[in-house]
């Protein structure tokens, strides 16, 4: 029986795709500019089916790439001839426990769907990537996804309590933050599909704030806006979100259907959200307002009504989409720098853009120092594509030189592989490979991602793990 036939026997005929025209849909994820075609795409409908698929792939010794909603921004869900394992049909919310404030979900549950299900209990799922209306909790786990509100509430790592995981060899393990031994759950979060597939997750739910206030401050100097970011944090105020957009981004947003009423003549705008209990909140709002004005803000708009707040947020959340109007392709970056280096880095990024004659649109989580310098361009214009490539390398190097990192929330995937050895020593990269080999000694899960292959030495695993040789936790 062919592999596709074996998979059809598990999930049914309609949930296995192997015709080229069907597979075309799965040749890209959320990052434009890469195409890789899987050999087969399989979409199990239950956790049992997913496990049977993983075990079938293990027996066949076939590489596979797990995929949630395919909204990732690092090329992490691209399957180059491998089997694409789509988990988006596993979308059951198994249980919500409002007392313990946790939810048990399948990996294909859409981020915002969980929040909607938790709303009647006055709770929500805090990590909120901009793709939250489409991306899945399982994908969030694999990428250790962030989002604007992670400044106050933390990233996915801080919200996952336990995960039932199918290792690539078909072994099932229950990773629990409360268990003894090594923090294997912590190691699994953000492993980008290279350590296996989560079949079920237990995540924390966060109480909804009593009151939310969103402020929009506009600046005539990007440097003033950047200085304001550090001043707010230094004052001891911890906003729920602290976002910056530069003039290029504001222009793109305002020209699109996502227009949010941002001032297009501003050099930069800061979107600041303060939330929590009603008591004491106004003091923080006044604090932020005062700091913005003291640092040269022309105007500070304060929105408290849901509709007005949603409008201010719309432009930010849809900024990547709005950039789609500027050019057919978009390079998306995700570097992080120490917060105090933001003013210098933004100046350096502007200079790099000028030198290479490319247009950089900055939209980012300023409070975390998590930059998204994006460059819209036409990949078919070879000269422009080459200049974009040079500019990106220079920006990444500048961020690394400033003591930063190459990705804060999107993951390494395929796109950021070339920067890994500028950031880590060969021994550190080898250590990462050793950790991967514990979970996947045959290196079949999402092969070729995260750590450049040349840093992964050949080695023999501690114990034989072929044919599901490890003991499986009772299910």
């Amino acid at each position: 029986m062919s592999l596709a036939a074996s998979l059809r026997a598990i999930v049914g005929d309609t949930h296995v795709l192997d015709r080229p025209a069907e597979l075309l849909v799965y040749e890209s994820d959320g990052l434009p500019g890469y195409q890789r075609t899987p050999s087969v795409a399989v979409f199990p409908g239950t956790a049992d089916e997913a496990l049977a698929v993983v075990r079938t792939l293990a027996r066949a010794g076939v590489p596979f790439v797990p995929r949630g909603a395919g909204t990732g921004l690092s090329g992490g869900a691209l399957a180059d001839g491998a089997v694409l394992l789509g988990l988006n049909r596993l979308k059951r919310i198994i249980a919500i426990d409002p007392v313990r404030r946790v939810a048990r979900v399948e990996p294909g549950v859409v981020n915002v769907t969980l929040t909607k299900a938790a709303t009647p209990f006055g709770l929500h799922y805090a990590p909120d990537p901009s793709s939250q209306t489409a991306c899945t909790i399982g994908g969030n786990l694999a990428e250790n996804a962030g989002g604007p509100h992670c400044l106050k509430y933390g990233v996915t790592l801080n919200h996952v309590v336990a995960a039932k995981v199918a290792l690539p060899d078909g072994t099932v393990v229950e990773l629990d933050s409360d268990d003894g031994g090594y923090d294997l759950l912590g190691a699994f979060v953000g492993s980008e599909g290279c350590f296996g597939v989560a079949l079920e997750l237990t995540v924390k739910l966060t109480p909804n704030p009593e009151r939310i206030v969103t402020l929009l401050a506009d600046f005539t100097s990007i440097d003033d806006a950047a200085q304001t970011v550090s001043a707010i944090i230094a004052a001891g105020i911890l906003p729920a979100a602290l976002e910056m957009m530069d003039q290029a981004t504001v222009g793109a947003v305002e020209a699109s259907i996502y227009a949010a009423g941002y001032p297009t003549d501003a050099a930069a705008v800061l979107l600041v959200e303060v939330d929590g209990a009603t008591v004491g909140l106004d003091d923080d709002v006044q604090g932020v307002d005062g700091i913005c004005r003291a640092h040269g803000a022309r105007d500070v708009r304060i929105a408290t009504e849901p509709a007005a707040r949603a409008r201010l947020w719309q432009g930010r959340k849809k900024a990547f989409g709005a950039m789609g109007r500027l050019a057919p392709h978009l390079v998306v970056q995700d570097a992080v720098v120490p917060r105090t280096k933001l003013p210098a880095l933004l100046a350096r990024i502007a200079a790099i853009g000028d030198e290479n004659q490319v247009r950089v649109c900055n939209v980012f989580h300023a409070g975390d120092g998590n930059l998204h310098p994006n460059i819209p361009y036409n990949a078919n214009d070879r000269d422009e594509a080459a200049r974009v490539h040079v500019a990106m390398r220079q920006i990444m190097q500048a961020c690394i030189d400033a003591g930063g990192t190459i990705t804060g929330e999107h993951g390494v995937g395929l796109d950021k592989l070339p920067y890994m050895d500028a950031l880590f020593t060969p021994d550190t990269l080898d250590g990462m490979c050793r950790l991967r080999d514990v979970f996947d000694p045959l290196r079949r899960a999402n092969p070729g991602k995260v750590v450049p292959v040349r840093y992964c030495r050949e080695r023999r695993p501690a114990t034989a793990t072929t044919d599901g040789g490890r003991r499986t936790d009772d299910r």
Partner: protein
């Protein structure tokens, strides 16, 4: 005899030699409160005391990088000068080292509200059981580059690597900060603790205390720490006074409480499958089994 390397290179050489000779090593930070379990006592002590002091501290970034042997007291003093702090404050007190706190993932009274050690570590440097120097993570507050060796080393009890430096997340010290004592019987204290932790303005710490545990310093009940802006703390204070005969208490009691806490002990994973994974992790980073042998295995 105690080995006392002066540099990371020397530490790497010591571990590499020990691995070749299959000589067991027992990692020692300040040697004050990490006694792990009996098994490692027979091994040769490897003192990490040379890796001491602040390496990089830019207060505006709210991050700090310190040598692993830096004491918690020093971390507190250095950050206090800039009106900041690191909420690690582990059970056991302030004489232990940052490295031991991270190695044992020892939490403290602020962990519930402000994060566990795994939530506060941004990056680290360590020498694994093969003598290789690993530098995963970084010093920025958000970082998903590569597989997470930082979380792996946090709570590994020095069985995978000897931690030499740690980068940590800091917080601004709150504008208002008060400690209150609520005399309550055990059942009621437990209920109030749950209610306070679930309130809209949870205290940053809220611990059950027993008179005998604190050498009679205060009566049985709850020790509560309110922090935030003045309005938040005032509202919290009023709430406590509604619930019980709340009395202002000395903030130093938190240190006393931490010093009186029992040491954390290493635990093995519950299930055979996870135990098997643990063994493979140990084998991957310490194939000769020389670092703190016996612990967690």
């Amino acid at each position: 005899m105690t080995l006392r390397p002066d540099s990371v290179a020397e530490l790497a050489a010591f571990i590499s030699d020990a691995a070749s000779a299959r000589r067991a090593l027992r990692l020692v930070g300040r040697g004050t409160w990490l006694d792990a379990d009996e098994a490692v006592r027979d091994a040769e002590p490897l003192a990490l005391t040379a890796f001491d002091g602040v390496i990089e501290y830019e207060p505006g970034d709210l991050t700090i990088t310190v040598g692993a042997a830096t004491t918690l007291a020093e971390l507190d003093a250095v950050t206090a000068a800039h009106h900041q702090w690191c909420p690690l404050a582990p059970w056991g007190g302030d004489t232990g080292s940052v490295g031991a706190t991270i190695s044992t993932a020892t939490s403290g009274p602020f962990s519930h509200a402000l994060g566990l050690p795994r939530d506060l570590v941004l990056g680290l440097e360590c020498v694994d059981g093969t003598g290789k120097v690993l530098r995963p993570g970084g010093r920025v507050v958000k970082n998903v580059a590569g597989f997470d060796l930082v979380r792996l080393m946090t709570g590994a009890w020095g069985t995978l690597g000897a931690i030499t430096r740690v980068s940590l997340r800091l917080r601004a010290r709150p504008a208002a900060d008060e400690t209150w004592h609520l005399p309550l019987d055990a059942t009621r204290a437990d209920e109030v603790q749950q209610e306070l932790r679930r309130s809209m303005t949870p205290p940053i710490a809220c611990e059950l205390v027993r008179e005998d545990q604190l050498s009679g310093a205060i009566a049985d009940g709850l020790l509560v720490r309110l922090a935030g802006n003045a309005a938040v703390v005032a509202a919290g204070r009023a709430d406590l006074q509604r619930r019980a005969d709340a009395r202002a208490a000395d903030g130093a009691l938190w240190t006393t409480l931490r010093e009186h806490a029992p040491s954390r002990v290493p635990r093995r994973p519950r299930s055979p499958a996870v135990q098997a994974l643990n063994r493979e992790v140990k084998h991957a980073f310490d194939p000769a089994g020389v670092l703190n042998p016996g612990i967690l295995q």
